[in-house]
Amino acid sequence: MSKKLTVDGREVSFTDERNLLEVIRKAGFDVPTLCYRSDLSIYGACRMCVVEIEGRGIQTSCTVPPEEGMKVTINTERTRRIRKVVIELLLKNHDRECTTCERSGSCDLQNLSNKLGVKQLRLGKREEFLPLDESNPSVVRDQNKCILCGACIRACKEIQGHGVLDFANRGSNTIVTPAFKKDLSQVDCIYCGQCVAHCPTAALRIKSDIDRTWKEIHNKDKVVVAQIAPAVRAAVAQKFNLDPQKTVQLIAAALRRIGFDKVFDTSFSADLTIMEEGTEFVTKFTEKKNLPLFTSCCPAWVRFAEQKYPQYLSHLSTCRSPQQMFGSVIKELLPKELGTTKENIVSVSIMPCTAKKAEAVRPEFQTNNIQDVDIVLTTQELIKMIEEAGIDFAHIEAEEFDSPFGLFSGAGVIFGASGGVAEAAVRTAYELITKKKLEKVTIKEARGINTLKEIILNIEGQEVKIAIVNTLIEAEKLIERLNKGEVYYDMVEVMACPGGCVGGAGQPQLRDCCSRSGIQDRADDLYEIDVALPIHKSHENEDIKKLYKEWLEKPNSHSAHKLLHTHYKNRKRINSEGLSFGKNSEHALMNIEICIGSCCYKNGSYKLMDKLNELIQKQNLQDKVNMTAVFCFENCSSGPNIKINGEFIEVKPENAEEIFNKYILAKVK
C-alpha cells in the first residue's frame, strides 16, 4: 500500500523504497550525493544528502527509511551550509588539477562544487602528493584524488564478490588500498573496472591508450584497423541521443575521419565465436563431457576462474573472446587480403570493457612478441578521440563497414547484453543438432537485467539446461551450488559486469552512475538492432561461411584451433614470498617448498609439513634443507603439492617417508 510524506511542502507517495533519498529522487527532487550508489549498499559517508526532518533535525537521507507523515525539507540554511563545508573540506585534500584531469566534466566532486556554488576555498591546498599506481594494465589508482567514499570497495565486494581494495589505517590517515599497500597488479584484481565505474572522481580511472593510438594513426607506414564491440554502439547512441542502428554507421564514419584505414564490427567475430563455441558445446553435450560448458568471452570472468576455480578450467570454453578471434583473423588473414605484412598492421579494438586491455596483453595472444590486438580503447576513450578530432558526430554521413569481414548477424550484436551469448548459441546449436530450421529466434528467458536467468530447452526430446549469470558474486553462488550438486546445467554464460557488456566499466557513466534501468535501455537497443537486421543466426552469415571456406575449413578444425582457441592456467592471487621456517641458507643442498594454499591445506599439506619436519630432525638435516611454505603453486587439482629443488613431486602424508628417503635423504647423504 502506498504511504505518504511531504518533501518541501509537497505530498509525495512511496511504497518500499530503501531510503528517503530514493523517495525524494523519485518525486523529481534532487539531493546531491557522492558516496551513494543505487546499485550498492548504503554507506552514509559523504554527508551530502543531508535533509532536515521535522522533529528529528538534520539527517542523511540515504540512511533514513521513509516513514508515513514525515516532513522533509531539502534546502534549509543549515543543510546548504553543511554541504558546502563538506565540499570545501574534501577539496582541501583533493588534487585540484581539474583542467588536465581525466574526469574533468564528469567528476561528481567538480560538478557538485559548481552546482552548490562553492566559490571560495579557505583551507589551502593539498601538500603531500603520493605517486600514481600505474602497474595495472586497465586501472590507474590516484590517491591524491580519493575522497574516501568507499564506492570502489563496495563495488568490488558486492558486484564481484572480490574485495581487492579496502580501507586501511584510521582517522586522517585513512586510505583506500589493496592489501599491504601492494600495487594493483600484485593482487587478485580481475581488471573489470567496476571500481572505476563507481568512483565519483578520478581516484580510480581507466588507463588511457588514446595517445598511443594517435601515434600509430599518424604513422603513414602503418595500416590501422579498428573493430567495434556490439555494446559500444548502444552506449554511444544513449550518450548522443541517436538511433542505435544509425549510430554504428556513424561510428564507422567517425573512425575513418579519425584516420583508421579499415573498420570492422566485432559482431562478425561474435558470429565466429558462436560457430566455434556452438560446435564445442554440441560435441561436449553429445559426449556428456566436462559439463557445464562455461563461456569464455568475458576476460574478467576468465581471470576470476583462473584464480579461484582451477578445478573448472577444463569446463571453460577454449574459444578465444570475439576481440581476440578478430585480433588473430586481422593479424593472420588480413595481410594476405591486403597484400601487406603482419608487422605493418596495427589492430585496435574498441570495447565497453577495461579488462579487454589486460586480455590483449596476455602472452597466449601474442605471436613472436606481436600482440594480436595491439591497442584496446574503451567507449569513453572513443568518445574522447571523436571530440579531440573535432568531429560533429551527430551530423556526419553514415558509412558501412569494410569487407571482407563486414557482415554480421543479429546473434553477434546481442552478445553485448547478458544472455546474448547463450541466446545466439542456442539459435545455432539447435539447428546444428536437429538439422531443422529454428522459426522463433527470440528467447525471452535469456533477456533482462536479472543477475541469474535460466533457460530449459527441449531439443528433440533432450533437455538442455542453460544458466546465465552476470556479476561474479552471482557466478560464485552458482558455482557453490554446482559444487554441492544442488543444480545441474549443460551450459553457463558468465559476464562480470552488471547486465553484461552493456554495463561494462569502459562505457560512459550513466546519470545515476550504474543504474540498472540505464543498462537495460542499452540492452534493449541491441535487441532492437537484432530485429532490424536481415539475419539472426551466426551460421547464416555469408562472410563467416566464406571465411571457413577459404581459410578455416570447418568449426573446431585444426586451423580454427590454432587461430581461434586458447588455454588457461591457474593463477596466483597475491604476490608473496612464502613463509620461511628459519633462516634460508645458501649452502643448503635441498629446497623444499610446500603449498599451504586453501586447496592443499584442506588436502593435508600441514600434516605433510609436520611429517617432513620430523624426518629432517631425525636425520639431523636442519642445516642442509630449507623449507618454505608458499601460497598456491597453481596446481590445485592435485594437492597437497610440494616442490623439491623446483620440481613438482606428488606426496601424500602417508607416503611422505618413502618420498623423503628417495628424493631427499638419498641425495643429501
Binding site: K157, H162, G163, V164, L165, D166, F167, A168, N169, R170, T177, P178, A179, F180, V187, R573, I574, S576, E577, G578, L579, S580, F581, G582, K583, N584, S585, A588, I596, G597, S598, Y601, Y606, M609, D610, N613, I616, Q617, Q622, D623, V625, N626, M627, A629, F631
Partner: protein
C-alpha cells in the same frame, strides 16, 4: 636451516584458527592471539589467515591497520610504552620519552631499533595517573620516571641482552 620455533609458531596460528572456527566475527580475536605468538603480525601470516578464512587480504589488512594494538612491524625485545595521558604529560612524560629515544638511538619516527632490542611508543593512558609519569616496559610498570632514572633502567636492560662489543 629450519628453526623449530618458527615452525611451532605457525602451528599455533593454525590451532588458533581452528579454535575460533574460521569465523569472520572472530577476526580481531584471531589477530590478537596471533600477535601474542609472533609479537607482531607478519604479512605472510595475515595472507594465510585471510586465505583460510576466505576473507579478502585487503580487509584483514584494513582491520590490522585500524587498531593501534596491532603492529605490522617486528617489535623489539623490550616494548617500552611511555604514558602520555593528561596527568603524565603534565608531569613531564615528554622529556622522559625523548630521553628514551636518545638512549636507544631512535630517530625519524622509527619505533623499533635496527637490532630489534627496543620498541618505543607513547600510549594515551595506562590508568595509573597517581604514579605519573609512568613507563611500561613489557609487563613491568616503572612509576614517577625522570630522564635520569629511565636512563639507568635502560642501561640495565642493555646488560640483559648485550650487543656485540657492548
Amino acid at each position: 636451516m629450519i628453526i623449530i620455533e618458527e615452525k611451532d609458531k605457525f602451528k599455533k596460528v593454525s590451532e588458533i584458527l581452528d579454535k575460533y572456527e574460521y569465523k569472520k566475527s572472530n577476526l580481531i580475536a584471531i589477530l590478537q592471539k596471533t600477535q601474542a605468538v609472533y609479537r607482531y603480525l607478519p604479512e605472510e601470516i595475515l595472507i594465510y589467515i585471510a586465505t583460510t578464512m576466505n576473507i579478502s587480504p585487503a580487509t584483514v589488512y584494513g582491520v590490522a591497520t585500524f587498531y593501534s594494538q596491532f603492529s605490522l612491524n617486528p617489535k623489539g625485545k623490550f616494548e617500552i610504552k611511555v604514558c602520555d595521558g593528561t596527568a603524565c604529560h603534565v608531569r613531564g612524560s615528554e622529556p622522559v620519552y625523548n630521553a628514551i629515544k636518545n638512549k636507544v638511538g631512535l630517530k625519524d619516527g622509527k619505533i623499533t631499533t635496527d637490532d630489534l632490542r627496543f620498541s618505543v611508543e607513547t600510549v594515551s593512558c595506562l590508568g595509573a595517573c597517581g604514579l605519573a609519569p609512568v613507563v611500561l616496559i613489557n609487563e613491568k610498570v616503572y612509576p614517577q620516571m625522570t630522564p635520569e632514572a629511565i636512563s639507568i633502567i635502560i642501561d640495565e636492560l642493555k646488560k640483559e641482552f648485550p650487543k656485540e662489543g657492548e
